[in-house]
C-alpha cells in the first residue's frame, strides 16, 4: 500500500546558500535625502515526485546594498512549499532604501517537515487510503 509519510528533518547548515538572479538595471536614485522603494516577497517551488508537503520556517530574508543589510521579511513565516507547485504565494511587503542591491541572505528554522507518498509499496486495488507516519524530530 502506498503510504503518506511525514518526517521532520534537521537542517544542519543555516543560513543557506541560494542561486540568485536579478532583473533590470536602470539608473540609481542618488539624492541626499533618504528615499525608499518597496519589495514584496513571493514564495514558490519546483516540485519533486511524491512530495505532498514540505514545510520550512523562513526566519529572515535580507538584501545587502553595499552598506547595510535590509530585511524584507517582518517576521518568521512557516511555508509549505510543496503545495505551491509553481503557484505564487504572497508573503510580505516592506519598504527598503533605494540603492543597488548586490547580495541576499536567507535563514531557515532548524527543522523541515516533509510529507511524501511511499511509492515503493504496492497500491491497494481500491481507492487509496493513505496513512500518516510522523517521526519525532
Amino acid at each position: 500500500m502506498r503510504r503518506l509519510n511525514c518526517v521532520q528533518i534537521l537542517l544542519l547548515s543555516l543560513p543557506l546558500a541560494f542561486v540568485a538572479g536579478c532583473g533590470n538595471g536602470s539608473s540609481v536614485g542618488s539624492g541626499s535625502q533618504q528615499q525608499s522603494a518597496s519589495i514584496f516577497t513571493m514564495a514558490t517551488d519546483a516540485s519533486l515526485p511524491s512530495v505532498v508537503s514540505c514545510q520550512l520556517t523562513v526566519n529572515s530574508v535580507t538584501l545587502a546594498n553595499g552598506s547595510t543589510n535590509v530585511s524584507v521579511l517582518s517576521a518568521p513565516v512557516l511555508i509549505d512549499f510543496a503545495k505551491l507547485n509553481g503557484l505564487h504565494d504572497l508573503i510580505d511587503l516592506n519598504s527598503v532604501p533605494t540603492g543597488t542591491y548586490t547580495s541576499a541572505t536567507l535563514t531557515l528554522g532548524t527543522t523541515a517537515s516533509i510529507g511524501y507518498i511511499n511509492t515503493a509499496t504496492v497500491p491497494p486495488p481500491s481507492a487509496l487510503r493513505p496513512e500518516i507516519y510522523r517521526r519525532p524530530s
Binding site: 503518506l4 511525514c6 518526517v7 528533518i9 537542517l11 547548515s13 543557506l16 542561486v19 540568485a20 536579478c22 532583473g23 533590470n24 536602470s26 539608473s27 528615499q35 522603494a37 518597496s38 519589495i39 514584496f40 516577497t41 513571493m42 514564495a43 514558490t44 517551488d45 519546483a46 516540485s47 519533486l48 515526485p49 511524491s50 512530495v51 508537503s53 514540505c54 520550512l56 523562513v58 530574508v61 538584501l63 524584507v72 517582518s74 509549505d80 510543496a82 503545495k83 507547485n85 509553481g86 503557484l87 505564487h88 504565494d89 504572497l90 508573503i91 540603492g99 542591491y101 548586490t102 547580495s103 541576499a104 541572505t105 531557515l108 507518498i117 511509492t119 481507492a127 487509496l128 500518516i132
Partner: protein
C-alpha cells in the same frame, strides 16, 4: 551564507519590486535509486528580483480573512503575518464563486489572484472567490471519496493549510469530512456560473486540491470540521508527455496524456489525461498543443483543475482529468 547576486539590482525611489523565492524541492531533497526520499536535505533556493508587473511574481490564491469594505470597489483582507492588504476590483475582475463584495462579512475568508499595484500597493484582483463564510478554512488534497460512485457521503482530506490554525487538526494529518449534499460546491479560478454542474458531491475524486470552509467542532477531545463550502482550486502536476498521445480538434483545443508521477500523481490515474482549450497558455512550447509531438517524452508542468470527465478521450470511461490553464515545458 551570503551569495552575491549574479547582477546588481537597482531600486529607485517609489519602485515596487517582487522578490521571488523559489525553493527547489527537486534539488533539495535527496532520493535513492528508486526515487524514495532518503531524509538528506541540501536546501537550494532560486531568488530573483522582478518588476511588480512580471508574471513570475503574480499573486495566486492568496487567502485571508475579510476585514471590511474600503470603498465601492475595494476591501481590506488580513493575510500572513497579520498584515492587512487592500484588494481592488475592476470591471475585469472575475468573482469565481458568484459571491460579490457586498455579501462579504467578518466571517468571510476570500481567495484572491492578481498583481500588486505599483502605485497604491493594493492587490489589483483578477479573480476573487469566497471560500468560507464560517471564519475557518482548511486546504489540502482529497485522498479518498466514498462511496466510489454516486453522491459522496465522506471524503478524506490531507490537510496542507488551516486559516486560522487550530488544535486538534494539523497540517500533515488526514481528516475525514462528512458530507450530506447541503454544502456549496464551486470552483475557484473558473469564472463561469455553471461550475456546480461540473463540480459537486457526485464528482469528488482523490487527488483534487480543495479548500473547505466550515465549522469546527470538538467533542470528547475529537475535532471535526462540518463543511459548508467545498471549493475546487487549481493545482500543479509535473510529469512527462506521453509520445503520440496528443489529440487536437482545433488549434489548442484537444488533449494529451501525462505520465504523472508528481505530488498528487499517485492519487490520480497514470497516465493522466490533460484537456486543453483555447484558454490554455503554453509556456516554452512554441506552437502550443502542436508542439507536443515527436517520439521523445517531454518534461512538463501543468497547472489546472482536476475534474471528472464522463468520457475520457483515451479510455472512454468516467475518470479524473486535468483541465489545463498552463502547460509549461520544464528542464528536468
Amino acid at each position: 551564507m551570503t551569495v552575491p547576486l549574479a547582477k546588481p539590482f537597482v531600486l529607485n525611489s517609489a519602485d515596487l519590486v517582487g522578490l521571488r523565492m523559489e525553493f527547489d524541492i527537486r534539488q533539495s531533497l535527496a532520493v535513492d535509486g528508486s526515487g524514495q526520499i532518503t531524509g538528506a536535505v541540501n536546501p537550494t533556493f532560486h531568488m530573483q528580483l522582478l518588476n511588480a508587473a512580471d508574471a513570475n511574481v503574480s499573486i495566486d490564491d492568496f487567502r485571508g480573512g475579510y476585514v471590511g469594505a474600503a470603498g465601492n470597489n475595494s476591501f481590506v483582507m488580513q493575510g500572513p503575518l497579520g498584515r492587512q492588504w487592500t484588494v481592488t476590483a475592476n470591471n475585469n475582475t472575475q468573482f469565481d464563486t458568484g459571491d460579490h463584495m457586498a455579501s462579504f462579512t467578518a466571517n468571510s475568508i476570500v481567495d484572491v489572484s492578481g498583481q500588486l499595484n505599483p502605485v497604491t500597493h493594493a492587490i489589483d484582483a483578477s479573480e476573487i472567490s469566497l471560500v468560507s463564510t464560517d471564519k475557518f478554512l482548511m486546504g489540502g488534497l482529497l485522498t479518498d471519496a466514498r462511496p466510489p460512485s454516486g453522491a459522496a457521503t465522506a471524503a478524506d482530506l490531507y490537510v496542507r493549510s488551516e486559516l486560522p490554525a487550530i488544535s486538534g487538526i494539523n497540517p500533515g494529518q488526514i481528516t475525514t469530512l462528512t458530507l450530506n449534499g447541503s454544502e456549496v460546491y464551486a470552483i475557484a479560478n473558473l469564472p463561469i456560473s455553471l461550475t456546480t454542474i461540473v463540480f459537486n458531491n457526485f464528482s469528488l475524486a482523490a487527488g483534487q486540491h480543495v479548500a473547505v470552509g466550515g465549522v469546527v467542532n470538538t467533542v470528547s477531545g475529537v475535532t471535526t470540521l462540518t463543511p459548508h463550502r467545498v471549493i475546487l482550486a487549481r493545482q500543479g502536476q509535473a510529469g512527462t508527455w506521453v509520445p503520440g498521445s496528443t489529440l487536437s480538434t482545433a488549434g489548442n483545443n484537444g488533449s494529451f496524456q501525462l505520465t504523472d508521477d508528481s505530488t498528487a500523481g499517485v492519487l490520480l490515474p497514470t497516465p493522466l489525461t490533460v484537456l486543453t482549450t483555447s484558454f490554455t497558455s503554453f509556456v516554452n512550447l512554441n506552437g502550443g498543443l502542436s508542439a507536443l509531438s515527436g517520439t521523445t517524452a517531454i518534461p512538463l508542468r501543468v497547472v489546472g483543475l482536476v475534474l471528472i470527465d464522463s468520457n475520457d478521450p483515451y479510455t472512454h470511461s468516467r475518470r479524473p482529468v486535468m483541465v489545463a490553464r498552463f502547460v509549461e515545458q520544464i528542464t528536468p
